[in-house]
Symmetry: C2
Subunit: 558 residues, 2 copies
């Protein structure tokens, strides 16, 4: 069987279209583009501005059940659904997140789809792409250097080095940087303090880039970032440091959405990549707006399961896009549902109707959640070779009994040809009325907003706040930060904050460890359980298999 | 008076040529290019390979006296000389280094020339450019994460955490990261150890990128990097970790030279940017080869003064290019020579012939040094508005008495029109025979090679090795690393290792603090005095003045 990179390279080396041709499919000209090589481009600010004024198409959100080691293939379905819509004559444009390099070097498994439904050039997209992540890392760490430099050079603002909350970042899985002591080596090498690094995709700047409307909005949000507190606990912002201009300048080009293509030449904007377990998990508002302005249907995706990315799309991203979803697709696999039903990974290839039915509870909960927003829902069954007809039939029946169509798709194996039925079902869903109902109003108390997410979306009973979290609530109240949105940081593997609890549990509590105000992006990050903001590498990192030959051809990347 | 960015933007917004047109001037087609926006491109590997086979033009090395706060303008002269050569009908192509972002955010003063002799688009080149620096940072820090992960996950190679020599890097001036403790926070967050960050341009990967011939050579050099030692003091290389493929993959695109243009549309390769005080300070070998293959004359530059960058170009870069300079230009200003003659910065605007004559000693020593390599030398006087006719006349006479032509140039003010006389003098120098004589043979003992540099180039008396340096010499002997080149790390401001000693001192000793084997780049970095491998920011960083408006127009960048 061919690997994803081998399938991608066959097309890349033969029939991949120059990016100008992909743009021309949407009636954009070379003047609207800033090329990055022959197959990637950013839109110019002029083009972005013009497209934002156009009438918008319909918006489809692709989300999924809780991820499992069995794999769900949400990006694959997003890509294949767009290809299939184009195949049946509906002009679809994709808006997805950019991959983070850290996990690419660690675990096998790309963020550009798989099989016959992939974004290309996949090596470029998975590695440095157009440099957005690097610009974010640089902007983030330049701000960190400016903060420590301010403290070193007299500390006019009276910043308490113990209360600097702005962390450095790298787009690398590096557990050794989670907790560090910086500024060692004597007077000329800074003021020693405890510090730490997050992964770039967990940074507030990434969230801001994904939410910003334009340069002016970006700068305004950056100015409002809280970087720490004074000795008297007064918040210090980037505006206090007077460097919002410089930091925004470093993100000027990163703000422009990137255009690439699928294996079947569907236009795809790939822009912004916040993680959904520790950030809001949706691609940039600008990319989605471009897809809405240029397509009859825009396909976008939210990270991890519908409890994390899905909820955040509805309650954080959609208000910023100014367009709520017209339909939602929930991706599931028979294997992953059986895993949720208690089957071990090695036994997933065996037919097991009882386990499938037991595991269906997880999918059912996510259907319920997405329906709660009053948007039509379609379930996409991402087919695996080991699925049996009886299993597919059972899952379709279970969904039907619950009032939702479940469409078996063979996108991975066949590309758009395997997704026609799904495309038709999505078009039917889009013909239905959607009357979006948000989960909470931002003016409700913080604890109420958190409880609504925990009780309604996760199915939990209560929220337990740690002593630290209670202190944070006090700080939030004191600084008038109540009216921010809620960005839950929770394990992606479970509806609870314990990654080992599968299925659709009830009667559990969520443990809030800490609440971090992100005054620039406009939300409170609520850290639950043991979720980490800097991943580590596994014992045998994927990097061990990667190579590039004398002609620059890359191998071992998925 | 207009700032550099204002002069650059006037051209950028009106008459800047699409990069394809600049390439066409060298008979390259769109197929040879990978565009990065409309005004920047990388060459494809196919084009690079083909150009390397062509007959080569002549090579001109631009270097200077020791830098002073008064400014010398070496890049300005390099750019203006190439423009002027083209003006008088000699096809000249530029090969220069890429700027590092760290100093850009710290101190005012660009690396893209100034006045009417600039590289454009200057904002892009000075900020993220085509992402080469970011690729280096990522590759460097991915390797660091892989090392710490190896130690964390069982440490099969028996790496001594106290003897890891591979440092992390950022392209940021951040003194707080010079000395850090990483791996804190308990068992799951790594093995605690003392560590540190350098600036990206000081990294061995930067040096390797600048010396590599092609992907295969790049990978071979990366495999040979020494990252630390075992508990029994055996060196550990990247090959031992088996990740040379992955690290090379991350540098695939960064290896391709970047093409931009001057204000006067001269083609310029801007690629690789090692610092010359702590690394070898020359642009990539590939960029210089491209300029040699595509121009009748290639203009390149070495960092800081002729004692640092100049020496390293001759003894490290040239052997890797396989082409020694056919002429050398030494840049000086009357102001800087008066500063060397003991005049304070505020008094430099007053005519002072005695101080000029006293300061000439510094220029004289550098002329002597460059002549020692048996290559014709021309002095370029980079004119300032405050220079008096008597001062110019005196400096020209002093040079003439020493057997060297000194050409007054008004490149900053007038562009190529102000550089015609210099261009003619350089053409005359190129007509003279050059019979290159290297300073040392790599097989000589390490201490002999260092002494030759100190005594012949710096004019010093002796070398004093610290206890640590003596231990390092022992390690070098034990591991058969004697036959590597020497890369001195020394203050750029003085011929000695004390930045306050100006002019042309004699009878001084150089203090060698440490010797770091760079087995990938193939040289020993000899740390002298207090030279830092991670700069800090000043009290009022340049970042405070930077901004970007709603249309993406940048201001305050020089």
């Amino acid at each position: 069987m061919k690997s994803d990179i081998e399938i991608a390279q066959e097309v890349e080396h033969t029939t991949m279209a120059p990016i100008d041709q992909i743009a021309a499919k949407m009636n954009l000209t070379a003047d609207d583009l800033e090329n990055y090589g022959k197959y990637k481009a950013k839109l110019t600010f002029e083009a972005i501005q013009e497209i934002k004024q156009r009438p918008q198409g319909k918006l489809v959100l692709v989300t999924s059940i809780n991820p499992t080691p069995a794999g769900e293939g949400k990006s694959t379905v997003s890509v294949g659904l767009a290809d299939a819509l184009n195949r049946i004559g509906t002009k679809a444009v994709i808006a997805l997140r950019e991959p983070s390099l850290g996990p690419v070097m660690g675990m096998k498994g790309g963020a550009t789809g798989g099989g016959k439904a992939q974004l290309i050039p996949m090596e470029d997209i998975n590695l440095h792409f157009t440099g957005d992540m690097h610009a974010l890392t640089t902007a983030n760490d330049t701000l960190a250097a400016l903060i420590d430099n301010h403290i070193q050079q007299g500390n006019e603002l009276n910043i308490d080095p113990r209360r600097v909350t702005w962390k450095r970042v790298l787009d690398i899985n590096d557990r050794s940087l989670r907790q560090v002591v910086t500024g060692l080596g004597g007077v000329t090498s800074g003021v020693p303090r405890q510090a730490g690094f997050d992964i770039t995709v967990a940074s507030e700047l990434m969230a801001i880039l994904c939410l910003a409307e334009n340069i002016t909005d970006l700068k305004k949000r950056i100015a409002k970032i809280t970087i720490g507190y004074t000795y008297t606990k007064k918040p210090i912002t980037v505006a206090d440091l007077k460097v919002q201009g410089a930091i925004t300048m470093l993100l000027r080009d990163a703000l422009k959405p990137n255009l690439v293509q699928t294996l079947e030449k569907t236009p795809a904007f790939v822009h912004g990549g916040p993680f959904a377990n520790i950030a809001h998990g949706c691609n940039s508002v600008l990319a989605t707006k471009m897809a809405l302005g240029l397509g009859d249907v825009a396909i976008t995706e939210a990270g991890f399961g519908a409890d994390l990315g899905g909820e955040k799309f509805m309650d954080i991203a959609a208000p910023n896009i100014g367009h709520t979803p017209d339909a939602t697709v929930i991706v599931a696999t028979i294997r992953a549902l059986k895993y949720n039903g208690g089957v071990a990974v090695k036994d997933l290839t065996t037919e097991n109707l009882a386990a499938l039915e037991a595991g269906f509870g997880n999918l059912k909960k996510h259907i319920q959640n997405m329906k709660r927003y009053n948007v039509p829902v379609v379930v996409a069954i991402n087919a695996f070779i080991t699925d049996t007809p009886a299993e597919i039939k059972l899952l379709q029946k279970l969904c039907q009994d619950f009032g939702v169509a479940a469409i078996n798709t063979e996108i991975w194996e066949k590309g758009s040809a395997g997704g026609e039925a799904l495309a038709k079902a999505v078009n039917e869903a889009l013909a239905q009325p959607a009357d979006f109902q948000p989960l909470y109003d931002k003016t409700e108390p913080v604890t109420t907003k958190i409880e609504k997410i925990v009780q309604t979306i996760y199915g939990g009973k209560s929220v337990i706040f740690s002593a630290k979290a209670k202190k944070d609530l006090k700080t939030i109240a004191e600084n008038d930060w109540n009216d921010l949105a809620i960005c839950m940081a929770k394990t992606q593997y479970s509806l609870t904050d314990d990654q080992h609890v599968l299925g659709a549990p009830t009667d559990f509590s969520i443990h809030v460890r800490e609440i971090i105000p992100k005054t620039g992006s406009g939300f409170l990050v609520v850290l639950t359980g043991n979720v980490l903001t800097m991943p580590g590498l596994p014992k045998k990192p994927a990097a061990l298999n990667m190579d590039v030959d004398e002609n620059g051809v890359i191998s071992g990347l998925f």
